[in-house]
Subunit: 160 residues, 2 copies
């Protein structure tokens, strides 16, 4: 399913490049775009193109994981806007070498509920240069606190 995987990869790459002609060329004319979190839907390539062209801000996208099969695909990507960095994901449906449906999710940060501190570690968003030797940080931009060891109570990230 290299073709569908490539469609998913090019979807993000052409958005990031603001290459609107190439981006629209990946989409079926009757593509459906949905954002379940806000209960929004856009019908058709022309309106979907306009939506993205009008979307405010100097946003940037970086793909992290792309998976596709003969019918479905997903890109888990990082988006950046005004100094904020978060994860998002776009699910795709494919037909005849085009994208026929896109469903986006934009998860927001939240504080965990109490009662599971005995099992979890928490991370801090890392500042540049802190704990640069940490594999985890290079992977995700996170510095992990060793909740179980109690190191977090010192307020000091453990970089081991």
């Amino acid at each position: 399913m290299g073709g569908n995987r490539e469609l998913a990869e090019r979807f993000i790459a052409t958005l990031e490049a603001r290459d609107w002609t190439a981006w629209a060329g990946l989409l079926h004319p009757d593509v459906i775009y949905e954002i379940p979190q806000s209960r929004e839907r856009i019908r058709g390539r022309d309106r979907y193109l306009q939506f993205n062209q009008e979307y405010p801000g100097d946003w940037h996208l970086r793909p992290k994981v792309t998976i596709a099969d003969e019918r479905h695909g997903v890109v888990w990507f990082e988006w950046r806007l005004d100094g904020r960095v978060d994860d998002a994901m776009a699910f795709f449906e494919f037909a005849d070498g085009l994208i026929t449906r896109v469903t986006d999710f934009w998860p927001e940060p939240y504080e965990p509920p109490a009662g599971r501190e005995h099992l979890v570690e928490r991370s801090l968003r890392a500042s540049a240069g802190i704990c640069a030797e940490s594999q985890d940080m290079s992977r995700q931009g996170f510095v992990w606190l060793a909740t179980r060891s109690g190191a977090h109570r010192n307020g000091a990230p453990r970089c081991a």
Copy 2:
């Protein structure tokens, strides 16, 4: 990659069944579980099992889309708890026929920003039995409002 796709499918099915032995059997002993939104991480199968066994409430999971390749997979699923129904997704990394990493996302509903009403339709969460003929509702539990036609101003779902 039927094996990895089946791992992803069984991950959700055995969780839903509270079949803890079967569920734990899918996981590498050193599996890493991460929730980026809350910056939480759990190391190891035993703690991850305990986390799920202790998770409060009569939660239920229903898979919607599963995709997998030789290294990565995802299940987009619906979760239900106390009358609430929302989407979530679990990304997987595989090695040697086991799940070595799970990363969950739990997107929350939000209101869309102003300025794109000229392009989008909004949906209402449908009550049982309303507009049952709607394909969209049967697909997602949503009734779509025709924002562009102005029908939403009547406050009445359009079921055509």
